[in-house]
Structures are given as structure tokens and as C-alpha cells.
């Protein structure tokens, strides 16, 4: 067997983003769809906690499951979980009506934090990010300028932002401009 290939997420973060924007290492990500009437049975069989409502997320160990459509979930966890998950889905295939697609490399994730985070996100994202309207634990697919993103709130001033690989530099460019313009603020 030959040596493993180097992983390259092709995202560069300027020093000015330190402390505001962090790139997560490669995660395991699955796009999960489950026929709504089989949701409970699937949860039982898979031990994957699928939130019951769009916009809600569940956290199990280091695994996050976001419900972003009526029957659509995004599962994000560490790389180590990938093999066991893949095996699990293979086992369940045929027994339950669902779809599991590996999108680990489709997305890249950023952790956004700091007092200015909501303002920085609102440079391109039109949603109201006040704690009342976007509480901790809320998730959604939305838009940042012309790039689609998935956004979820992990704390008062901490968000995770997911986007397709090729859209990441575009979004990071906005963050860089924001941080540069608000230096020292």
C-alpha cells in the first residue's frame, strides 16, 4: 500500500482573522435523508439523534446533527467516526428508507467567534442574529452574499459556518475586509 495523500482544504486565513475566524480540520459529514414516518425507528436503530424540527440541532458526544429540511439532516463529527458510520449506514440500507451521502470533503467549516461575530456575519447574511431570534442551538441553511452557507449557533458569540469548498475563499474575503475595517473596534 502506498503512502496516504496529503489533505488540502485550499483555504488560507490572513493573520488578521486570528481569534475571529478559525478553519476546522476535515470533518466527517453526511447528508442524511430519512423518510419522515421512519424517523423514530431510524433513530433507534442508528443511535443518531435526528432533531424533530427544521432549525433544531442535536449534540451527541462530538457529533452534531442539524435538521435543515423537513427530512434533511447534516451530520458532522470527527474523522475517526467515519468508518463506523459508513458501516452502520450500509447495515441499515434496505432495512429503512433513507439516504446517506458522504459530503465530508464537499464542505469546509469555520468557527466564528468574538464580540463582533454577528456583525461580521451580517455583512453578507440577511438573517436577524439576535439571541432572541437566533438562539444558541439554532441552525439553518441560508445565504452569505451569493454563497450558500449553513449556519449554527454554538454560543452567544460563537457560530459555525459551513460552505461548499469553492465558496470558502469568497466568504473569507469578506471576513478579512470586515476585520481590517474594524481593526481595534
Amino acid at each position: 500500500m502506498l503512502s496516504e495523500l496529503k489533505i488540502d482544504q485550499a483555504v488560507e486565513l490572513a493573520p488578521i482573522l486570528t481569534g475571529e475566524v478559525d478553519l476546522l480540520p476535515v470533518q466527517t459529514r453526511y447528508s442524511l435523508r430519512v423518510k419522515p414516518k421512519e424517523r423514530c425507528a431510524f433513530i433507534e436503530a442508528s443511535n443518531i439523534d435526528l432533531p424533530a424540527q427544521i432549525g433544531k440541532m442535536s449534540v451527541q458526544y462530538d457529533r452534531v446533527v442539524l435538521c435543515i429540511g423537513p427530512d434533511e439532516y447534516i451530520l458532522i463529527c470527527s474523522l475517526a467516526e467515519r468508518e463506523p458510520l459508513a458501516r452502520k449506514f450500509e447495515e441499515l440500507m434496505g432495512k429503512y428508507i433513507f439516504s446517506a451521502t458522504d459530503i465530508s470533503h464537499r464542505n469546509v467549516s469555520f468557527i466564528l467567534s468574538g464580540e463582533q461575530t454577528t456583525n461580521m456575519i451580517n455583512v453578507g447574511c440577511p438573517l436577524d442574529l439576535s439571541l432572541e431570534n437566533f438562539p444558541v442551538g439554532k441552525c439553518t441553511r441560508t445565504i452569505f452574499e451569493s454563497a450558500e452557507i449553513i449556519l449554527f449557533r454554538m454560543g452567544k458569540t460563537k457560530f459555525q459556518l459551513e460552505t461548499w469548498r469553492s465558496f470558502a475563499p469568497f466568504i473569507v474575503g469578506y471576513f478579512e475586509k470586515y476585520c481590517l475595517q474594524n481593526r481595534g473596534k
Partner: protein
Amino acid sequence: MTLHRKPEYGRVNRGKPINFSFDGKIYSAFDGDSLASALLAHGVHLVGRSFKYHRPRGFVAAGPEEPNALVTFDRGPGRVTPNVRATTLEVFDGLVAHSQNNWPSLTFDMGAVNDLFYMLFPAGFYNKTFMWPKSFWDRVYEPAIRKMAGLGPAPIDEDADIYASQYMHCETLIVGAGPAGIAAALAASEKPGRVILVDEQYEFGGSLLSTPNMVINDIPAWQWLEDSLAILKARENVTLLTRTTVIGYYHENFLGAVERITDHEKDLSSHKPRERLYKIRAGEVVLATGAIERPLVFQSNDRPGVMLASAAHTYLNRYGVVVGEKIALFTCHDSAYEVIFDLADAGISIAGVIDVRDQVSETIIAAAKARNIEILTGTIVSGTSGKFRVSSLRASKIEDGKITSTWEIACDCLLMCGGWTPSIHLFSHSKGSLKWREDLGAYIPDNPNENVISVGACNGTFGLRKIMTEGAGGSTEYQVNAGAFGSGIIPATFPTEGDPAKVKAFVDFQNDVTEKDINLAVREGLKSIEHVKRYTTTGMATDQGKTSNLNALQIAAKAVYKPVQQVGLTTFRPPYTPTTFGALVGGKDGHSFHVIRKTPMDGWAEDHGAVFEPVALWRRARYFPRDGEDMLAAVNRECLTTRCSLGIFDASTLGKVEVIGPDAAEFMNRMYTNPWLKLKPGSCRYGLMLGEDGYIMDDGVIGRLAENHFHVTTTTGGAPRVFRMMEDYRQTEWPELDVWLTSTTEQWAVIALNGPNARKLIEPFVEGIDLSEEKFPHMAVREGRICGVETRLFRVSFSGELGFEINVPAHYGRALWETLFIAGQKYDITPYGTETMHVLRAEKGFIIVGQDTDGTVTPMDVGMSWAIGKKKKDFVGKRSLSRPDIMAEGRKQLVGLLTDDPNIVLEEGAQLIANPEQSIPMDMIGHVTSSYWSATLNRSIALAMVKNGHALTESNVYIPMPGKIYKAQVSKCVFYDPNGERLNVI
């Protein structure tokens, strides 16, 4: 030098003197001055030349409604802003500004001859005069008009500033921080919920800044202001934005506001944006935008030194500047008396008050008497004199609507007050309806179309106590010392002396439209105010008629003998005040202008000198020139190397969709023309997708990985469209199917290897897949590993050579590419780009959807009936294939073209004709869709859509191109290896 300042007046910071330059001359000012107040402090009234007649013009107002004093704000290269209102430009130390629209200088202007020939410039002048001949427009009229009648010159350098934008949300947005707005903010912020208070000026207070003598709840106005702002500042739910102009009011309480951040700062070395565009979504909007004083329309009312009464009030009380030493007032409204009394109290000599009305109140008469001010009732101003500044006015006594006597009154400043116009601009943007208030002679808000209320003067409410109580929404009762605001009449027009045709009484100062122009427009049959506006251009200048609209309307109404309501009102549109393009772009420039998607291997291509081209949002390597090669040389080499040995191509941009579910095969069967139910797992098929109209929409190779699992590929540009269409059918037409779609375009990096050595290259790296011809035939797909990384390996070819498409998880793409490229050196491997890909596929007659097809092409038209599952009962587009027009003779069909001269490469898009001898216009029978030099065949090749093309094989067609008509023979589409033997190299 003695300045025209009153030491004990104004809010400017006398402890902070500064210098600025206007038209090259250095002036002193104080921090807190506007350019207008600073110039007036030096007695400078002449600041510009008018648009059409180049008449000398001075300040009319003190705020954003200023129509005359437009200057160029010059901060050096890339930072020149024309047409800035001097009344809103904050002076800072070192500010440089120039006057505009004058040549060679403000005091000697060549264009002023227009004024002597004013008979040449009636209403509709441009419309009438510059119509014929058409060619004159470009060569003669347009450049001349531009030179003579321009505003400030447009900047030519790239904008050196940066801009920003930002979404904001609040429960209550209050626009305007005058007394009404502040009262509203105090009331709103007592409740929970975010409150944003914005004001266009650099200081909150609005009219209070000009009326320090007011006492609110027993507190002097300015103290009250300070206290109130301190309260608001301390409240966590309040955001205060000064220097922020709300420019537009859109659906569902979505408003645009521009904050000016650095225009007033001396130091530009910070990284701060010059302006920020706020896109605000508000639960409720409170408009407290105030009212604008209306000028009076009389002969020579545009002379420098003639200004609005409220402006003089502001210059005195806010800036400590007196606008004249002997000031007269011409009014039809009580409110201006407060101004003239304040001026008198400041020790300024009052030349007299000319009041149109026959009577004024006893209170006013008493107050005037106490100050020794003469009031001339039933009198008008019928003209002014003075070269660059008013030196006297002509007062005329009116009896029965006629002038009975006229005399001169000396003055160096003439104030005018024609009543007040509520600022309904934003309410109007929001599509609320308006109603006419006869007593005000103005429109006020009626039924709102959004969750909005108007308070204070913009709602037609006048008098400080009423304004503030309304602002507070009744929650607080305000007590103030001021008397009633008073009332007035709306005269619209005045009798004139002598020939009315020679009178120039200006309505729209900025566009140089006179009362006579409006009357002329009406006489010429333009009865709607929208038509009058376009014909005369009244209200169409950069100020959108803030001071002129109501006067124009009333003059027009009078001329057609109709009530104003029946003449209408022109529509206000965003932006409220002129806005820079930079603010509108809001930082979405440069790399932020639009997304440029790059594949995982893009960095390698860049390092290796690739020339890129945009394909949809992607940038793709087009070719990889070696030293000194042009595109043709590079592509020839890339093609030959690939056909002889090995080429490597980045196909990552292909759209990819994972189709999974028990009904996946049924879904595919319905979406694509081909049959899918019996395709074996591990096999691929070329898939053709139609729109419901039967025209080709997309194509791509589709692999079946398992019974219930397909890996679909689409064209690069078609990916989003195809995904959406598939989702549409899945969700809305066939919800009973258990199948899901997931876009995996970016999950996989795709490396296409083509050429006889392709298998040899990958063999050592692949695990778990038998690559032999028997076990892994053409159009098969396998899952395994390459370089230790999972792969979906397709054996497919878009070149006609032995080919593989290696899919690996995207973040491994570049590393795998580099590994294969290094290992490929022994096969003289060449990277190639989209151009070579296009040539190789054209040599094989493979179509590119969107290049050879255009959305009106059926599978039969391109000779792909074979891709249609004949036994299928239904698929998207099937029924349309039997529509009469689609079955009819004479459709354009895809053919090959071989030019008689093999060295001629036809132009893509060139038209085809059957007979070159015919007369012009010739009958066009088709067009070239693809055309290349084929190094492999050592000649040119082309594909074309030709009427009845399939029946024309071996006949001649002709292609007119610049300079010559070329002859070509119609051929089959496949130019190279027609039997496909090269696919099966062992």
C-alpha cells in the same frame, strides 16, 4: 479679517480653528462648520453657476435640500466627488473644494452668454431642437451640451476608498432625530426591543439646533437635547447613527441607509470604509423627517443672497454666521417672523418685511413694532438687483391682483418663505397613499402600506409642542415656551411688471426651470404633472425637486384651472439624496464582486502557467503553454500528446448528483431519455436529459453503483439548473417516489486521464479494482482505492482514447494529481485544459450542450435518437418529441463541415448559405457551432446546425466570413476513429 460671525451664537467649536480651501483660496473656519456656513462667514455668497443659463448662484438652504451650492469635494486622485452640497459638507482642516459648472472662473463664465440668449432655451428646448439630423446628436449637440451644461465632471480615477455594507435588524427604526424623532426614540426605547435612531446630519437635534431659545419642559432646548441624547446613549437597546441618510424605503420595512464615515476626517490612513450601506429590516418605522421650507417664485429670485428664511436662522443659531448686514424678508407665512425677529435681536439691521398677505396678526405686528421692523402687507417682491449678490429688491404694491406701485429697497440679503413642504419622500417610497392639505398647500401621508407612522412636520404637524407630543406617541405630554407656529397662504404665482415673457422667476434652481417654462409646457398641451416634469425637467435634477416640486405643481394647476389634487404629484424614488456608487456597491468589489470557484487542482494549474477561462462560476484551465507557445501551439501539442501517449485533465467542475433510494432507478428512468431499470450496478451510461418541451437540457455519464444508488454527472454550467429541475419533479410531481438527491459536485475531485498509456499509469496506484479490459470494460465504474484513498473510478472517454475518470474526495485532489503527474513523466504526460478537451471531443463528434445546442434542439436534431428508450412509456420531454413542429421537415440538424481549404478554421457562429450567388440578404440555412484546428487530422474541422443537414452529406455549403465566402463539404460528425477502436487499447 472681520468675519460675519456673532461671537455668542452658534455651536461651532471656536477653540478649534481650522483652514480649508475653496477654488484655490484659503479660508478659516471652526470645527463644526459646514462648507456653506464657513464660506458665508467670509461673506462668500457666490458659489456656483446655474445648469442651463450659467447664472451666478448662491446658497438657498442650509441643509440637504440645497439646490444651488454644488461643489466638487477633492481629496486627491481617486477621491474626487462632484456635486456635493456645500450645506452638508463638514469642514475639516485641509478640506479642498471647487466650484463647478463655470469656465474659466466663477466670476467670469463664458457660458453666461446663454443667459443673454435665454429665448433659445425654453421648456422642451432639448426635445425640440436636438432631434434632427440624428447624426448631429453624437457629433455636435451632445458634446456641446456636455461642455456647457454639465454638473461637476465625473471622476476619472479608480475610487481609492473602500466601502462596506451591513444588514441590521430592529424593532423600531426612527428616521430623523429632530424634536419629533428624539421624542419617539425616548418613548420607544423605554420598552424592550431594539431601537435605531438615524439622522443625516453629523449632530442630532434637527430644527432644535437652529432654535436655542426654545424651552422644553422648562429646560432650554439645547440642554434638553443633551440630556435626552445621554438617556438614549445609556440605553442598551438603542443604536444611534449620525451622518446616516436613509436613502430608500422598500418592501416589508426594509430600508437602505448610508453612513458617511471618513468624509469629515482629515486623516485617511485608517482602514475605515468611507461609507457603509446599512440594509435595515425594522418591525416598525417612525418617520420624523421634518419639513422643507418652500421658496417663493418671483423675478430674479435666484440671485446670490436670496435664501430661505429657515436657512438664515440655522446659519445664525447653529453656526453663529450672519448672512447679511441689511436683511429683508419676503413671506406669505407667519413662521418666518421668528427668524427675522431673531436676526433683529442679534443686532442685524432689517431692511423690511414684505408680506403678500393683506393682514398679519396683531402679535406679529406688536413684536415687529418693538424691534422697529416695518411690515409691508399686500406687497410682493417683483425683482432683485445686484451683480454677484443682491444689492436691492423691488417691492410692488398689489391691488386687485395688479401691481400699482413699485419702489426699491436696499438690502444685501433677501430671505423668502413660501410655507412648508412636509418631507414625505420615504413614506412615498414605501407606497403609502397621500392626501392634500389645502391649508398647507402640500401633500401629507394618508394610508400607510407598511408598518409605519409619520410624526411631526413630515406628517403636517407643526408647532414644537404638537410635534413632540406626536413623536412621543401621546405617552409624554411636552410643554414648550413657543407660541403657535402660525399659518400662511400659498400664492404660487405673482403678478409681474412689463412683459411676462421676459420674467425669469425660478421654480427649480438646480435645473434652471422657470415659472414661464411650466406655463409654456401647459400651453403646449402637457396636462399631467408627470409630463410637465419630463418636458421642463422640473424636479429632475439631483435634488429631485425638494424645494421646487410643490411650486411647480401649483403653477401647473393654476395654469390648467384645476385643483392641485387633480394634477397629481410626481413620484419620489430612491435615493432620497444623491448617493455614491461606492456606497451602493458596499464593498462588493474586487474579489468580493462575484464568486470565482476554483477546483482542488487550480493551484497546481496556476503554478504551472495555465491560462484560465471562466466557465459558469468556475475558472478552468484553458491550456498550459510551454515556453513561448501561443494557444494554438499549446493545444496542438496537448492534443497530439494525449492521442499518442497520455493527457491529464481536471474534470472536477462537472456537476455530480448522488441519487439514492429504493425508487432511484425509477426516478432516473423518468428524468432521462435513456432506459435505466436494467442497467447493471458497476456500469455507466451516457444520459440525456430533456426539458418538458423536448429540447436537450443536459447530458452526462451516469454510473450505477448499487441497485438503489446512482452517481450522476452533469455539465459544468448545467449543474445547478439540473439539480433544481430534478428536485422539482421529485418534490412536486412524484412525491410518492422514495428517492433523494444530494449534490456531490464538490465532494469529488475528478482527474480525467486519456491516451493509450492511461491504464499503465494508474495500475501501480490502484488497489481493489481489476483494471483489465475484460474485468473493467469501457463504460464501467468501480469503487476501490488509489494511492490509499477511496476512489470511484470510471472507465469513460470524452476524447475517443482509452480513458479513466478518477474521483477522489476533494481535499486529496491536488496531491493525487501531483503524484500522477510525476509518475506520468515517463509517458511524456501533458496536462491539458478545456480547449484541448473541446478539440478532442469535436474530432469524435461529441456535442457540448450549450455550444452545439441552444435550447431549441432535440435529440433527433443532433442524431441522438439512439439515446431515447424506445420502449419507455414516459420520461420528461417525451410527449413533446411528437409535437408537429418537432417532427416537421426542415429543422436544423447537426453535421460535420470540412472546408475545401483545410487550412481555414471557420468562425464559430458564422452563418451558412446554400448558394453564394444569391442576392443580399442571403438565405441563411444554418450556423457553425464548433470549429477547431485538428492537429491529429492536420486540417480544420467544424460542427454546424444546418437545415435538413442529415440529408446534405457530401453536398457543398458556403460560409461568408469577413472578406471572403468559404466553401465546405457537409460530412458526418465523427472525424476521427469512427469505429471507436482506440477506446480499447490493451
